[in-house]
Each structure stands twice: as structure tokens, then as C-alpha cells.
């Protein structure tokens, strides 16, 4: 393991946000993005917020290149909101620097502690997917260092195939070094939310579709423990950026951040306590907003969990799986109902699931969203039975013509993934062209794509 003798390299445990699986990696954190010479395999990693094994090295001791220290802004067009930056810049930093100038990320996932490169690699989506599509739709240009070490510029109209393979390509086509993206103008750092309790799944799906017509941001929270006629009951949330006139004077207060000093013991996650905890959380967040239009800070609306540093430790030492799938609109409520029934029967899920309607799929080959309904939830890891549950859920998803989100996956089998993603052969063809030896690989690419470890 000669790489460990290089200064600046240390062997460390590397895991996704779900804290499993864990593998030792030789981690480098350069301030300037450059692949080390020599062509050895490398895992590319941003801030490590993908849940499963997407940012976990394929083998013990493999090189891990973390990009987050390469975070310089290279250009900003203040007329158009076009930002060019090194790929390790985080959305948190973009918000800190550019929100006071009234620019906001065009798409944001549920945490701001993600790098722009990671947003491209996962083609992340947010509560505005129904209207605005996913992150890749706002990317004008990428600079990629490909497997042979050369720098290649790509975009929607230039090296288009490489671009379409890189957006959503999980960092397996090359090292993204620079990104040019379009921010969206907003009038304030405040959001106007509306929340409405809905009695069941049908009402939730209808409510999401209805809200999609007028609201840029929509999402639903579903009570996973409800069964029978209450299946799918929950709260529908709509939101939009507050106008200058609606916003309180001044920027919102910085969120107070609290830490989780220890791994939670597993009894804390017993169904009874979890129900209590989640119910309190649900009440706290949902009820004050019910029917009101009082503006709330953007971070409270988009990133409630960012307020708790290391919230992933709340799932205990064994970690957790996050499961997110999407089923096409044609499969409709019955497919979603079947998934919810399986979950509630298993008793394994967290109390809340997030439900959201997605707009049309993008041209990027491995991009996750497709027009239909997506469901996301946490599954505390309880050994093989949790994995079995995921495979069962996957069977339902495949039958419905849907797929799972690689940024959250740690379990899906290669054959199942191939059934979910009809464009996988096109993606493989582009990857073979640019990286025939699969220099860029991860524990996930070994598991889901059959890479040699």
C-alpha cells in the first residue's frame, strides 16, 4: 500500500451518511482537484451525505479523493446568476455567500451540506422537481478529469453523451473539477409555507397534483404506522419563496445547531418510543404552520435536520438504510399503497415517510426521478431482515416500472438495478469509452454494476 507512504494520506474508516457499510480508505483532501498520477483506482467523494455505499471505497485501503476543500468560486455573473465554481463548493457556502444577494440554488436536496459536484453526480432533486426537474437541468458546463488524466469540458451541447453519463453518474465517469450552474433569483431568504392534514393516500396524491399547479415546492409527510382506511394519511406541505414585501426585515437568524455526542442506544428506536418522538417532531413542525402563511426561514423549510449535527447517530451503532424509490404515474396509487402496506406490516420503518410527485425524467441516463410518485424513508438497520425488506420493496417497484435512488442505496442487487434502469446499457457504453478500466469505482459500483473490486 505505497499510497499510504505519501504525505497527506491517512487510512480512515469511510462510510455513507447511513453509517453502513464502512470500509477503510486512504483519504486525500486536496485543495485543488487533480487525480494522482499513476492511474490507480479512486473513489470520488464530496461531503459524504449519500446514505449508502456510493461514496464508500470498493476495497480496503483504496484511494479516496474528497473534494470538499476545493471550494473556490471561479466566476459569478450577477446579472444572470451564473456561477462557476470548483466542484467541492457546498450548497451551504453558496447560500451563505449568494443568498444575501438574492440568489438561491436552483434545486436543493434535504441538506445543504453537499458539494456541487455531488449534486451533479447524484443529479439531486428537491421539492420543486414537479416544476423545475433535477439539478442537472441547471448545469451549463462541467470540466471533468477523465481516467487518462486529461481534462474534458462537457455540457448539454458539448460532449453531450459524456455529460448525460456524468449527471447522475455517481462519480464513475471522471473527477468533476468545475461546474457552471444557473442559480435562481429570489426576493428574500424567507419561505411562505402552507400545511394541510390529509386523511389518506388518495387525498395525498390528489393534493400533491393539485398543489403542483400553483406552488414551486410541494412535499408530503406520511404516517407509516397508519393502516386500513388511514393508509397514507399525513400532512401536505406547500411552499414558495417569500416576496420582498412579505419577508420580515433582515435576514433570518442563523439556525442554532446542536450536536449528537454519542450513538443512540437501540432501545431508543423501539417502536413505542419512536412513535412518541416522531409524533412530537411532526406536531412541532407541522401544526404551527397549519393554514398560516407566516414566513419561515429558508433553512427551517428546506433543511430541518441540518440543525442537528450528526443526526445519523440517532439510529444507533448499526446505522440505517434509507430507502427511496419512484413509481411511474401510470402505476398510480395501488403501487404506492402496496409499498406502504409492506412497510407498515414489517414494523421496520421510521414513523414518517416523505412522499413527492416528480415531473418528467431527464435525459441523463442514470438520473433517478421519473414522472410519478417518489417515497423516501429511513429503515434502522436490524440485520438481514432489513435487507430482505428492501428486496421485497424492490420487487414491487420493478413490477410497477419504477426504480431506486442510488444516492440512498446500499442493498439493491445488480440484476434488480438492471431491470429498473432501461438506459443502463447506454450509460455503460459511454463509461467504457472514457474509462474502460473502471478507474473510478465504489463499493456501490461493485455491487450494482458488477465492477471488479
Amino acid at each position: 500500500m505505497d499510497v499510504l507512504k505519501t504525505p497527506g494520506v491517512s487510512l480512515e474508516p469511510v462510510a455513507g451518511w447511513g453509517r453502513r457499510p464502512v470500509e477503510q480508505g486512504a483519504v486525500v483532501r486536496p485543495e485543488r482537484l487533480l487525480l494522482p498520477p499513476g492511474g490507480r483506482p479512486v473513489l470520488l467523494r464530496g461531503l459524504g451525505r449519500s446514505y449508502g455505499d456510493a461514496a464508500v471505497p470498493a476495497t480496503r485501503g483504496a484511494l479516496v479523493l474528497e473534494t470538499a476543500r476545493a471550494d473556490r468560486v471561479l466566476a459569478f455573473d450577477s446579472e444572470r446568476g451564473t456561477l462557476t465554481c470548483e466542484a467541492g463548493l457546498s450548497l451551504a457556502e453558496i447560500l451563505r455567500v449568494f443568498l444575501p444577494r438574492q440568489w438561491f440554488p436552483p434545486v436543493t436536496p434535504g441538506t445543504r451540506f453537499v458539494t456541487v459536484g455531488g449534486c451533479v453526480a447524484c443529479d439531486v432533486h428537491g421539492k420543486n422537481h414537479h416544476r423545475d426537474s433535477s439539478f442537472g437541468a441547471f448545469v451549463d458546463r462541467l470540466v471533468l478529469q477523465v481516467a487518462d488524466g486529461s481534462l474534458v469540458e462537457c455540457g448539454p451541447a458539448r460532449e453531450r453523451e459524456l455529460f448525460l453519463a456524468t449527471v447522475g453518474g455517481m462519480g464513475l465517469t471522471g473527477l468533476i473539477t468545475e461546474v457552471t450552474l444557473r442559480l435562481q433569483p429570489v426576493e428574500s431568504a424567507w419561505m411562505v409555507p402552507e400545511a394541510e392534514p390529509v386523511p389518506g393516500l388518495g387525498a395525498m396524491l390528489d393534493g400533491l397534483r393539485e398543489a403542483a399547479k400553483d406552488w414551486p415546492y410541494t412535499v408530503g409527510w406520511i404516517d407509516c404506522l397508519a393502516r386500513g382506511s388511514g393508509l397514507g394519511r399525513g400532512i401536505l406541505i406547500r411552499g414558495r419563496h417569500a416576496t420582498r414585501g412579505e419577508a420580515p426585515a433582515g435576514p433570518p437568524p442563523e439556525p442554532r445547531r446542536i450536536g449528537v455526542p454519542l450513538d443512540a442506544p437501540e432501545w431508543l428506536l423501539s417502536p413505542v418510543l419512536m412513535r412518541g418522538f416522531n409524533a412530537a417532531y411532526y406536531m412541532k413542525l407541522a401544526w404551527p404552520a397549519r393554514g398560516t402563511t407566516r414566513p419561515v426561514p429558508y433553512h427551517g423549510f428546506f433543511y430541518p435536520l441540518d440543525a442537528i449535527d450528526g443526526w445519523n447517530r440517532l439510529y444507533g451503532r448499526r446505522g440505517f438504510l434509507q430507502y427511496q424509490c419512484v413509481v411511474p404515474r401510470a402505476a398510480g396509487a395501488p403501487a404506492v399503497a402496496e409499498l406502504l402496506e409492506r412497510l407498515s406490516a414489517s414494523g421496520a420503518a421510521s414513523f414518517l415517510a416523505v412522499i413527492k410527485d416528480c415531473g418528467p425524467e431527464s435525459d441523463a441516463y442514470l438520473s433517478f426521478p421519473l414522472e410519478g410518485t417518489t417515497l423516501a424513508l429511513d429503515l434502522p438497520y436490524r440485520g438481514p431482515r432489513t435487507e430482505t425488506l428492501v428486496h421485497e420493496l424492490n420487487a414491487t417497484v420493478i413490477a410497477a416500472g419504477g426504480r431506486v435512488y442510488l444516492a440512498k442505496d446500499a442493498v439493491t442487487r445488480a440484476e434488480d438495478f438492471a431491470r429498473m434502469v432501461p438506459r443502463l446499457p447506454q450509460w455503460r457504453r459511454v463509461r467504457e469509452k472514457w474509462d474502460p478500466e473502471h478507474r473510478f469505482r465504489s463499493a456501490q459500483s461493485v455491487r450494482v454494476l458488477g465492477d471488479t473490486p
Binding site: T6, P7, G8, S10, V28, E31, R32, R69, R72, V97
Partner: protein
């Protein structure tokens, strides 16, 4: 503030230059790598620096170039009122023990060159009524330890120099800030085992900027290192001989 920054492309210098840019300071970056300087200048400009952010070629290893570089910075900024030096050399102790040339270079850059530069800049500032010199020393200069006394000696010398500079120029309006970082997670310390109380560059930068504004002569960052070093300095040498750190 109109500040000359040496080391702004990396680590704590990068974080500190960003804070200065964000509050609208005018900056001139000095360094060896033109490409890196240019990239950092673009970053600082986008973050709000009173533009344009000037860059000048500068090598701490070439003292003959110091005066011309300070002249160029003066021209670019219309007379600078602060010099910040975060640049320095760092090499693991084992390599320094084995390689006299590496050791000589490290002692030369961290002590001799930095002192010569700061002395010249202090005189320049004193002549026009005052200003601030801020240089990054290290807690390693507070007490020699067997595991890093070579690097520590270079910083001990720098700390002593900065203390003297403060005393000598205080009456002429020059404020001197000696920053003594503890372990900070940057590319410089990458690969080293991370001790307790390790800091992040952004937090250190906030602390240092406050010290620059107030003219605090000695700053420990993260602040807890002031007390850690107080305890370590109090240890008798006999104890230092027995503990292995």
C-alpha cells in the same frame, strides 16, 4: 482595510482572506504559483473583495524580491495598511532529522525570511504612520517537544521576533499580531493523527480577524490552546523528558 496576504491560496490563509473579502477589504495576494493566485483572486472577488484583487509573484525563499514585491503591493492597493503572512514551511520531524537541506530550508523560510519580510514591512508602515503586521507562528514554538522541536524552533524564533517587533514599533503605530494555531485541519496537517481540540480553518480565521482588528499581540486559535500551552510550558524539563509527545 488594504491588506497584503501571503498564503491566501491555502488553508487558514484562504479562510482568512475570504473573511476579509466578504467585508469588502482590498486585497493583494503574493505567492509563487500564478495559476493558484489567479484562482484565489477570482474566488475573493466573487465573495465581495473591493476589486480588483491584485496578485504579485513572490517567493519567501528569495529575500531580494521582498522590497520590490512590497512596492508592487503598495502600487496595487494605493498603500497597504496590513501585512498577513500565513505561508510557511512544514515537514514531518523524521524527514527534517534525516535531511539537513530540508531542515535548513524550513528554518530559513519560517524564521529568517519571515522575520526579514516583517521587519521591512513594519518599517514601511511606521514611516507612513502605522498599520498591522500579522504573522502565523505556532503553539509548537511555545515549548520544545522531542517529536517536533525542529519545526517548533523555527516558530519559537518567529514568536520571539514578533514580540520584539511589537515592542519596538508600538510607539510608531505598528500593531503586531502573532497567531499561534494549535492543530488545525488543513492540507498542511493532512495525514497526521488528529489530536483532541483540533480546529477548523474557518473558525480560526474568525478569531484571527478579530485579533487583527483589535491589535491583539498574541492569539491562540482555537482559543483553548492558550490554556493547554500554559500547562505544557509549566511542566518541568524532567517531566518533558519522560512524556513521549
Amino acid at each position: 482595510m488594504r491588506a497584503v496576504v501571503i498564503g491566501a491560496t491555502r488553508g487558514m490563509g484562504r479562510a482568512l482572506a475570504r473573511l476579509m473579502a466578504e467585508r469588502g477589504d482590498a486585497l493583494c495576494l503574493l505567492g509563487r504559483d500564478a495559476g493558484e493566485l489567479e484562482t484565489s483572486a477570482r474566488d475573493l472577488l466573487a465573495r465581495g473583495a473591493r476589486g480588483p484583487v491584485a496578485i504579485e509573484r513572490f517567493d519567501l525563499g528569495e529575500p531580494a524580491g521582498f522590497s520590490p514585491a512590497l512596492d508592487a503591493a503598495d502600487r496595487a492597493l494605493g498603500g497597504f495598511d496590513a501585512l498577513v503572512v500565513t505561508a510557511g514551511d512544514f515537514t514531518a520531524q523524521e524527514a527534517l532529522e534525516r535531511d539537513p537541506a530540508r531542515l535548513e530550508r524550513l528554518l530559513d523560510l519560517n524564521f529568517t525570511a519571515t522575520a526579514v519580510l516583517c521587519q521591512q514591512a513594519a518599517e514601511r508602515l511606521a514611516e507612513r504612520g502605522g498599520g498591522t503586521i500579522c504573522a502565523f507562528s505556532s503553539v509548537a514554538g511555545d515549548r520544545a517537544r522531542r517529536s517536533n522541536y525542529l519545526y517548533g524552533a523555527s516558530k519559537a524564533g518567529l514568536s520571539a521576533f514578533l514580540e520584539g517587533l511589537h515592542l519596538a514599533y508600538a510607539d510608531r503605530g505598528v500593531r503586531v499580531v502573532c497567531v499561534r494555531p494549535g492543530f488545525v485541519k488543513t492540507a498542511m496537517t493532512a495525514g497526521l493523527p488528529v489530536p483532541p481540540f483540533a480546529g477548523e480553518p474557518e473558525a480560526v480565521a474568525l478569531h484571527v480577524l478579530r485579533a487583527i482588528d483589535r491589535g491583539t499581540p498574541v492569539v491562540y486559535a482555537p482559543p483553548i490552546w492558550r490554556f493547554i500551552m500554559l500547562a505544557i510550558r509549566a511542566l518541568p524539563r524532567a517531566v518533558m523528558r519522560r512524556v513521549r509527545f
